[in-house]
């Protein structure tokens, strides 16, 4: 896998896949429930902070060219720390993929397959994961660069197709639940940029490592624009998202698209596109988990890992007993998980590794 090199645009698409996936399920709804009408302001604020953080990450990575976070943790704390960090990231990828998969399949069950058990809806995704894991990483990235523009286009289309149903006054009151809620508590929404976890693993795969800064910043900007489109669609169309909880809010928005009498009811086509997107996300989660596991165990043959991680994801996705547990996990626990792993732990490791490197340089110089 480490022999594959990807271009800048493909790297941006890889990062955006992670951003986009969770917005298809209940993430926008969580935002609107928390921030009400101030969500757009909050997203812009959080986006700027994410850009600054990503710039800091880029600067911290500068001293470790072509090394990812696992390699850096090995440099910092030896094999022990490498295994711990590797294990944490594997856990993070598999859990987030499992929860997303389960939530999406629950929604699919309600919409399309009312009589089918959710386990049978998850199985086709698992089979697709088996097949995707057996092809090369370069092919995975090429697949994403074909599929993701379609997904981005679908959201933009959703926004403009529903334009006549928008009521822009719903942007007010401008501060939503208040300044504290919007700018202090709302800082928690930075977990929307959990796709930054991908950035920690990108450096060894880049064809042009000099473009790393451009990749990071461009993906955050596009991600932010995407989030704004997403959230605006729901905020301006519906007032009840502040009161009622709806599965797949974007699907609900897609149901309103009508052009005359003939062009109606095309939300199933959106679901088709979003199935492709969820598959992309699962593919990325699998790939990075396999990559980390291979680094931890120095495996030469990763053929059988192609089967192990999808089975693990399948197993974890069946753990929650009902939808309420999934929503609770996603709304309460998952955001803290991202905050800790992606922002606090990883940046902490980078900072300490940089300090260690600086000390070594000083020692060498003296």
């Amino acid at each position: 896998m480490t022999n594959t090199k990807i271009s800048s645009i493909e790297a941006i698409m890889l990062i955006l896949t992670i951003f986009v996936s969770h917005t298809i399920v209940s993430l926008p709804q969580n935002w609107i429930s928390n921030q009400k009408s101030a969500i757009i302001l909050n997203l812009i604020y959080v986006g700027i902070i994410a850009m600054l953080l990503v710039y800091v990450i880029y600067r911290l990575f500068k001293n470790f060219s072509s090394l990812d976070i696992v390699d850096i943790s090995e440099y910092l704390g030896g094999k022990t720390l490498k295994n711990i960090i590797g294990g944490i990231f594997i856990g993070y990828f598999t859990i987030s993929a499992s929860i997303l998969l389960r939530e999406f399949c629950e929604s699919l069950r309600v919409i399309f397959f009312p009589m089918t058990d959710v386990i049978y809806i998850i199985i086709p995704f698992v089979i697709a994961m088996f097949i995707n894991n057996s092809v090369s990483f370069g092919s995975n990235v090429k697949t994403i660069s074909i599929v993701l523009p379609l997904v981005l286009f679908s959201i933009v289309f959703l926004f403009f197709a529903n334009f006549e149903n928008f009521s822009f006054e719903r942007m007010f009151p401008i501060l939503g639940k208040g300044f504290f809620n919007t700018f202090i508590l709302g800082l928690g929404n930075i977990t929307a940029f959990g796709g930054i976890s991908c950035i920690y693993f990108l450096p060894p795969f880049l064809k042009e490592p000099k473009e790393f800064k451009k990749i990071c910043l461009t993906s955050i900007i596009i991600g932010l624009l995407y989030f704004i489109f997403c959230v605006s669609t729901i905020l301006f169309m519906f007032s009840f998202f502040t009161e009622a909880d709806e599965k797949l809010p974007l699907y609900f928005a897609a149901r309103h698209i009508e052009f005359g009498v003939f062009f109606q009811r095309y939300e199933s086509l959106f679901m088709l596109i979003w199935i492709l997107e969820i598959s992309c996300y699962l593919m990325v989660a699998n790939r990075f988990s396999m990559n980390v596991f291979q680094k931890m165990t120095n495996l030469k043959n990763t053929k059988y890992l192609a089967f192990i991680f999808p089975i693990i994801i399948f197993g974890i996705s069946l753990i929650p007993k009902n939808y309420a547990i999934i929503r609770f996990f996603e709304a309460q626990i998952y955001s803290y998980l991202i905050l800790f792993i992606v922002f606090i732990l990883s940046i902490g490791i980078l900072i300490f590794a940089n300090l260690k490197k600086k000390k070594e340089r000083e020692l060498n110089a003296s």
């Binding site: 645009i9 809806i121 090429k142 697949t143 074909i146 523009p149 199933s268 199935i275 030469k300 043959n301």
Partner: protein, 571 residues
């Protein structure tokens, strides 16, 4: 299989032997092999020594590897004196009869002109003054003598520069080089096949040439030579098959095609341990990277103009003796949706047709599956009136949708196959009878619904709109998988199937080149895009082939329009 073997196979890791050829990107090193081959002496004037001319011609035409270049050395008798000489010509381009009777015979055989035993110089006039005799003597002029006396041929020219000689040799003439002369004779002896060649049977175009390859390899190579008048067009001869020893020509333009690619193909062709090679399809399957997914990775064409166009891109063509098809290597996905007519037409027409082809490919692959998925799980997509029409039309049909569609699709394939086998006088009749009458009868009998007939018919027509036969067959085969997926789980199955299909497509390589090059809308591939740019903007060759020459035309190709402007001023 004993216990030890079982244990070792379970717990020991033996790396799988995978053959992985990747076409590397161009290096910037000036010492690379590509550059060293450029250092050939570009001499213009013919040498007076025949041996030097011979060496020069041999290196220029790569006669060691070029199998159709013939150099005939012999001794000329001119008025009792003997001179070394050689003839240069291309086999397959000349008329052998003319060559033998009117070129070689007068030069080699003993005749009155050759037998002369006197003073070669001729006294024109003589004057005596003061006991001194002044004679005007005309020196013997060998070139003039040969031109006037030894060449009973209608068109003979004398050139002192190699370039002109080579141009005419490439067109089918022969060149005569004689020792002590710094000129060469260009003799008209053209005799390649003209219009014995037939029209293409399966690749019909509106505006392009109407010639097709034939079984004879030399005729086929001459068809390519006639389009590419360049000494850098190499036709390497390779024998394949221990028993049949089939001649194959590996054709490429030396200063365009990537050397690594040529080397790789040559390596694969030379390392086939088979008894016989009788068809292009057989060779295709033996040399591709992977046959998984049955995706075609080589273009098989009966058109020389298509081969020429791809040769000029930097690709390689394989011609096989006894097979009226050329194999173009490598080929990516977008090549199978292109037709030779595209570059002959106006860009906007071509792009419109290319868009129709993409639709056709999508319809062939997905329409039946989507229809099954909609009828099974997603009826809300249909407009209410159409839904009622379908429900009413299906009222009397005893089969479920999946069985109905499989019945019709397989019947359609049967009719298609029968149409190929039936003798030509009644072939069209069978197609019409099969398609119309059977379909109508089936609807009247209530076996199938009329809407399904339309779906299957549109799918069939769309499959015919795909230019490449292999690719359309691949789509026809894989639509059955999408039908099953649509029946199983509706759009979930179609979506996941499509995702896996795209993934496997991206994983496919055609001789080291990713199969989906140039498809992603946001990944720029210089020199390549599926939709054509206007002809004056097609100045670069596709970069995924890593050709030796990136530019195929100047940035301003239309010098007549912009004779004085700089490149930057033109937008």
């Amino acid at each position: 299989m004993n216990f030890k073997n079982i244990l070792s196979s379970l717990f020991t890791y033996t790396p799988k032997e995978t053959y992985n050829f990747i076409l590397l990107e161009k290096s910037n090193s000036k010492t690379s092999i590509n550059h060293s081959e450029e250092n050939i002496l570009n001499t213009k004037k013919i040498f007076p020594t025949v041996s030097i001319n011979l060496e020069y011609v041999k290196s220029k035409y790569n006669s060691m590897i070029n199998s159709d270049i013939v150099i005939r050395e012999f001794i000329i008798n001119v008025r009792g004196k003997q001179y070394s000489a050689f003839l240069l010509y291309i086999d397959g381009m000349i008329n052998t009869d003319i060559m033998n009777r009117f070129v070689i015979e007068p030069l080699m055989l003993r005749n009155k002109s050759n037998l002369f035993d006197g003073n070669h110089d001729r006294i024109i006039s003589e004057a005596v003054a003061n006991n001194i005799t002044v004679r005007k003597v005309k020196k013997f002029n060998l070139p003039e003598y040969i031109m006037n006396c030894l060449m009973p041929q209608n068109t003979v020219k004398q050139y002192s520069e190699f370039e002109k000689i080579f141009n005419d040799v490439n067109s089918g003439n022969c060149a005569l080089f004689i020792d002590t002369l710094d000129v060469a004779f260009d003799i008209e002896v053209k005799g390649f096949e003209k219009r014995g060649v037939e029209k293409p049977q399966n690749e019909i175009v509106v505006k392009g040439a109407h010639e097709a390859f034939v079984e004879n390899i030399r005729t086929n190579t001459s068809l390519l030579r006639r389009s590419v008048h360049n000494e850098n067009l190499i036709m390497e001869n390779i024998e394949i098959g221990k028993i049949t020893k089939t001649n194959c020509a590996l054709c490429y333009i030396k200063n365009l095609a990537n050397s690594d690619l040529v080397g790789e193909i040559r390596y694969r062709l030379n390392n086939l341990q088979i008894d016989s090679m009788l068809s292009g399809g057989q060779l295709e399957q033996l040399i591709v990277d992977s046959n998984f997914l049955s995706m075609p990775q080589i273009i098989s064409t009966e058109r020389p103009d298509k081969c020429t166009s791809y040769l000029l891109d930097g690709r390689i063509v394989i011609l096989i003796n006894g097979v009226p098809y050329g194999l173009i290597i490598p080929a990516i996905l977008t090549d199978f949706l292109s037709s030779p007519d595209d570059k002959n037409m106006n860009t906007s027409f071509s792009n419109f047709i290319k868009f129709i082809r993409i639709l056709a490919a999508g319809i062939t692959l997905l329409l039946p599956g989507i229809y099954v998925a909609i009828c099974s799980f997603h009826q809300e997509l249909l407009p209410t009136d159409l839904l009622y029409s379908i429900i009413v039309s299906r009222e009397n049909v005893p089969f479920p949708v999946i069985l109905e569609i499989l019945l019709l699709e397989i019947s359609f394939e049967l009719i298609r196959e029968a149409g190929l086998r039936v003798p030509s006088p009644i072939g069209p009749t069978i197609s019409i009878v099969g398609a119309l009458v059977l379909g109508q009868a089936a609807v009247s009998a209530g076996i199938v619904s009329p809407i399904l007939i339309i779906v299957v018919a549109i799918t069939g027509i769309a499959s015919f709109a795909v230019p490449d036969y292999s690719y359309s067959f691949h789509l026809r085969l894989y639509r059955f998988i999408f039908i099953f997926l649509g029946y199983c789980c509706g759009f979930l199955g179609i979506g996941l199937g499509l995702f896996v299909y795209i993934s496997l497509l991206c994983n496919t390589n055609s001789f080291g080149i990713p199969y989906t090059s140039g498809i992603s809308p946001f990944v720029y591939t210089p020199g390549h895009s599926y939709f054509l740019k206007p002809i004056w903007k097609r100045d670069l060759r596709s970069n995924y082939l890593n050709p030796k020459k990136e530019r195929r035309q100047e940035k301003i190709a239309m010098k007549w329009k912009y004779p004085f402007s700089k490149e930057d001023d033109i937008k």
